[in-house]
């Protein structure tokens, strides 16, 4: 009876340490494999050859000057949201409420634009927009943090609920402010007076890009060189250690979520005041969730986040070009993005662990 037992053919061992180069090689291989699979799927759907598919993807993202600018602007917004979520993730607080925090920021900005347009000079309106949207995002971020600090409420679930409360609030105000009545949408706010439109710097895309650059550098410095950043890291690694050295975990959680929400609110401001000049429930287009992935893929490193957000936007812009070119549905982009994400998520395993195959297998079987 006993002879038939099989030995495990392989076992999994945690890698002690892996060099950065090896880790990135694995990631790049994964991305290439994902692109290959995407190409095959696209070929099946369109019948085109892979090279022209990649050319189309590239054209979609960087084909014309305008497209390049738009791509960069998209990257900027996604980057800001991802950066906003990062300090929370670093302290192991799973803020999946970016969507709601962005919406609240946007809503606050829109509220200022609509209600104050004829009452205050443009500059004052803009200042109030900045203040109120940052504040609104921060409040939306800090509510789950307070629950967490007081009663250890599961933050993944509470931030998730906050998203939909925000969505419905926006939906409510969309109807309150709808123009024209009965249309169910707000339309371009202050189309003639342009009150509350954030100023163009150079061209209309550059403002978001500059803000993103500032936030990236700021977040990099904040996490790496400041006392707050250090506290965040300690809390994330071990709450016991934090208490031991007298860091108030509750205070850090609340402070960090204020910051996280505030930056999300800023992204909402840019979306409403700088880019769309209107507000809808879908204005953040799921980027609060995409940001979770961007931040995680970059291992919470603000600089690496530039590349991960670029990758995601590049793919989705490229894929939407494919769908236009081949008359496919726009959602094709989501499928390709999903596939790439799955590959990158999966490849982390091979960075953290290695599989050891038992060498003496043949002998044991004999």
């Amino acid at each position: 009876m006993g002879q038939k037992v099989k030995e495990p053919r392989y076992h999994i061992v945690k890698r002690a340490d892996i060099s950065k180069r090896e880790a990135w090689t694995i990631r790049i291989i994964a991305i290439l494999a994902a692109l290959l699979l995407c190409a095959i799927i696209t070929m099946v759907c369109t019948g085109d050859n892979p090279i022209s598919i990649f050319v189309t993807i590239f054209k979609g993202a960087f084909g014309t000057q305008r497209k390049t600018w738009i791509t960069l602007q998209y990257v900027a917004i996604l980057l800001i949201i991802s950066l906003a979520l990062t300090p929370a993730f670093k302290m192991q607080f799973w803020n999946v409420g970016g969507e709601g925090q962005v919406l609240m920021g946007g809503l606050a900005a829109a509220a200022c634009m609509i209600t104050l347009a004829d009452k205050l000079p443009n500059a004052v309106v803009i200042i109030l927009m900045i203040v109120s949207s940052i504040l609104a995002g921060a409040i939306w971020g800090v509510i789950p943090a307070i629950f967490k600090a007081l009663w250890n409420t599961n933050e993944t679930l509470s931030t998730l609920m906050m998203n939909y409360i925000a969505t419905q609030l926006v939906a409510y105000f969309t109807i309150v402010w709808e123009v024209p009545k009965g249309s169910g949408k707000i339309g371009i706010i202050n189309q003639n007076s342009n009150v509350g439109w954030l100023p163009n710097i150079g061209n209309k895309y550059l403002l978001s890009i500059i803000v993103a650059a500032v936030v990236t550098i700021g977040m990099f410095i904040y996490l790496k060189f400041t006392k707050h950043g250090y506290e965040i890291e300690v809390v994330g690694e071990s709450q016991n250690t934090a208490r031991y050295v007298g860091i108030s975990v509750e205070k850090v959680v609340i402070r960090t979520m204020l910051l996280s929400g505030a930056i999300c609110g800023l992204a909402g401001l840019l979306l409403v005041g700088g880019i769309n000049h209107t507000i809808t429930t879908t204005i953040s287009a799921g980027q609060g969730f995409t940001g979770v992935m961007v931040s995680w893929l970059a291992k919470f490193n603000p600089v690496a986040m530039i590349f991960t957000s670029l990758l995601i936007i590049f793919m989705s812009r490229g894929a939407s070009e494919i769908s236009t070119a081949f008359e496919l549905n726009q959602s094709f982009a989501d499928i390709l993005t999903g596939i790439i994400l799955f590959f990158i998520i999966g490849c982390e395993f091979f960075i953290r662990y290695k599989i050891v195959v038992r060498k003496d297998l043949g002998k044991e079987d004999a």
């Binding site: 076992h11 061992v13 599961n154 094709f332 989501d334 999903g338």
Partner: protein
Amino acid sequence: MFSLVAFIPRAVQQGVPLLFGSTGETITEKSGNLNLGIPGVMYVGAISGVIGSFFYEQSVPSGNLNGFFAIFIPLICALIGSLLMGLLYCFLTVSLRANQNVTGLAMTTFGIGFGNFFGGSLIKLAGADVPSISLSATSAYFSKSLPFASKAGWFGKVFLSYGFLAYVAIIIALICAYVLRKTRVGLHLRAVGEDPAAADAAGINVKKYKYVSTCLGCMIAGLGGLYYVMDYACGVWSNDAFGDRGWLAIALVIFTIWKPDIGILSSILFGGLYILYLYLPSGTHTEYKELYKMIPYIVTLVVLVITSMRNKKEDQPPKSLGTNYFREER
């Protein structure tokens, strides 16, 4: 003006997809897997069913549908589609130990994209003028109510007027509740979600339980998508119509404190809240309906906060929820 007999059936129809979703997510979470991909899974379940029935309807001359195949084909397609999603989630989080939140969110992105893409493609194939596909023939089989429903007055309307999947949802929820509470499999599953290391030491195959419960959970959730499109929406697929019901299902899991049988009534409650705005007295501004739609989420948040305040051990989320297990970790 407000008729309870008319309201309840509508609330139930709204509630059934949520019940499928939350039952599926509950048994998934009981294994310690927080599957935020459920909204995507429900989309995939729905579109798979739509694809199946679309081609079946296309392949037979109109009106000659065989009742068995009309139900069986979409059902199997929906189950297979959502099973594949479940396998993907398990492969990434259980076998490759990837972060559950990130994997789940990626699955939702993928699943919604998948649904809308194929939905859009079918719409083009169908060549309709409106951006939707209508599978009314198939839907008729799905939404057929019990034969004596119309004769039983208000009783028939409230209890017997639904398509078979609604009853399936309730039966599944009851079975899940029974299995979790009264059987060895349920005991083992709860152990895996609470403390996988202890379960492992007791000889329970943690990986197997995580795989099976998550895949079954996805299949159940996928049925919710199928019910929505075939019964509730009368066989009409239009992109993004399913909306945020997947997230509402996750909310429902919290609201029911991880108990599928409570989910039966709670899902009807949620469904009722979701459509309560329709029953606002005429003259009320339409904007308030959006505030009413907010209620389920606020109620869930309140339940979540209150259970964490009371800190009763039995009412907490499964202790290992959201974390992966690796035996030789040290």
